[in-house]
């Protein structure tokens, strides 16, 4: 265990080698995430793009080019069908350069119309960002000079590392927004933390909005009310917990240091989302999914703990597994 904590301070940025089987599991898990983030349903025959597409209100590519045709029944069906086909190919690990770019394009178009018109919410952005990171990696992998190919990351490790960087970018820019928009200052987030008691107003707004959606009391109303009371009467305690959330976002890049830090910070980020969901009725399914797949990377730790040395050591790309194994035993 002592060695486990020592490895937390071991800088392996850009040098972690992931096995092909880890990338395969992450890929399949992420394929499901992409599907849901794009179409929000299990039923491919029931996918829908809002028929109120308005180029003035769309976000991203659909705000530049009139894509209203895509919301017609047949084009929607074709695009959804193409998504399934691409995700199957992606899951199989074939033609990655083409599939990642096409999946990114579909996610960016549908997301800009369907999920985030005028930036009304940000639930699915992270999925498109990861696809963009992967598409950029496979482009670089294809074009990089031989000397970079010889010394650089292999295909699996590069895809995971570039995906992780995109997730970190999302978290860190969110923290920077909080720092700047709340008034800046020398200490990151100090003014944001100082404004936190006012978040009780946001909690109440979210509670009422969740109610008016269906005139049903959300399941987490009691917790929500508890959080509001705590913020109003014992603000220091809630400020402490929410400040932790700010700093875990700002320091999300620590996930890149090594596998152990990815696990710990990844669990921290997932806990942050779970906490926000509990007190504010704001779900973060897709952030939770990418954190779980790319940072927590549970299959690796299960294999490690189960002592599957053969599985871990047979892959020449896994240079740190032997070390990690001894760290876990330490």
């Amino acid at each position: 265990m002592k060695n486990f904590f020592r490895t937390l301070f071991s800088n392996q940025i850009g040098r972690i080698r992931y096995a092909a089987w880890e990338w395969a599991i992450i890929r399949v898990g992420f394929a499901f995430t992409v599907w849901f983030a794009t179409w929000h349903t299990w039923r491919p025959w029931a996918v829908d793009i809002h028929d109120h597409y308005d180029i003035e209100r769309a976000n991203g590519l659909p705000s530049l080019i009139d894509l209203s045709w895509i919301g017609q029944p047949i084009p929607t069906f074709v695009v959804a069908g193409l998504t399934i086909l691409l995700l199957v190919i992606y899951g199989a690990g074939r033609w990655m350069l083409v599939t990642t770019w096409l999946l990114f394009l579909i996610q960016a178009i549908v997301g800009g119309i369907h999920s985030s018109p005028m930036g009304s919410h940000h639930a699915t952005q992270v999925v498109a960002l990861v696809l963009l990171g992967q598409a950029a990696w496979f482009t670089w992998e294809k074009l990089r000079p031989k000397r970079f190919a010889d010394t650089g990351l292999d295909r699996s490790s590069g895809a995971i590392f570039w995906s992780q960087q995109m997730i970190c970018a999302g978290y860190m820019i969110s923290a920077v927004s909080k720092w700047v928009n709340s008034g800046g200052g020398i200490i990151p987030g100090a003014r944001w933390v100082n404004q936190l008691p006012n978040i009780a107003v946001q909690f109440e707004k979210n509670r009422l909005q969740a109610y008016y959606d269906n005139l049903q009391t959300p399941v987490s109303t009691e917790t929500n009310q508890w959080a509001i009371d705590l913020l109003l009467h014992q603000p220091a305690m809630m400020m402490f917990f929410l400040a932790l959330g700010f700093y875990i976002e700002l320091l999300a890049f620590l996930t890149l240091f090594n596998r152990a830090s990815a696990l710990l910070v990844g669990v921290g980020l997932m806990s942050l989302h779970a906490f926000i969901f509990t007190i504010m009725n704001l779900p973060f399914y897709y952030f939770e999914a990418v954190d779980f797949l790319f940072f927590v990377n549970l299959p690796f730790w299960i294999a490690l703990i189960a002592g599957k040395r053969k599985l871990l050591s047979n892959d020449p790309a896994l240079t740190h597994v032997g070390e990690s194994r001894s760290l876990m035993q330490g």
Binding site: G60, H122, A128, G170, S174, S182, W192, Q216, L232, H233
Partner: protein, 144 residues
């Protein structure tokens, strides 16, 4: 990572936020005022209506539309809309109801089903250790 962050920060920037899907500065909850607002719908008879089954809109989207319509009035009226009168906010409320009827969910309004639909503006304030709310009906569609 830093290139991605720079793009998220710059592309589509307008004031305190940058949006160009999927690039975003993720500005949600980046500052907290001691006041906020939302809107909900009431029937012609004055009964609250659930937004999702009635007009296929989430309350958050309805509030966003109303907020945009309030923003459109900023050249006409000075100061914050928190200080505006109900009459001043009425123009925005009517624009929001027209958007629901004519653009967003016309089918829901077929056969005069939602004639007389009302929009209620709810203001939420933090007053020391209390949360205070105030409601005003700001607009109503014509009743047949």
């Amino acid at each position: 990572m830093f290139v991605a962050m720079a793009l998220c920060w710059v592309v589509g920037r307008d004031g305190t936020r940058a949006e160009f899907y999927p690039l975003s500065s993720f500005p949600m909850y980046s500052k907290f005022d001691d006041r906020s607002y939302l809107v909900y719908l009431k029937s012609a008879e004055g009964e609250p209506l659930p937004t999702v089954p009635t007009v296929s809109v989430f309350s958050t989207e309805l509030k966003k539309q109303y907020g945009d319509d309030l923003d459109d009035l900023k050249e006409q009226f000075k100061g914050s809309h928190f200080d505006w009168t109900v009459d001043q906010k009425r123009l925005a409320g009517e624009a929001t109801l027209r958007y629901l009827r004519d653009v967003r969910s016309p089918a829901a309004f077929a056969d005069h089903k939602l004639d007389g639909l009302r929009l209620v503006d709810v203001r939420i304030y933090r007053d020391g250790k209390k949360i205070v709310t105030r409601e005003d009906e700001v607009a109503q569609l014509p009743a047949q």
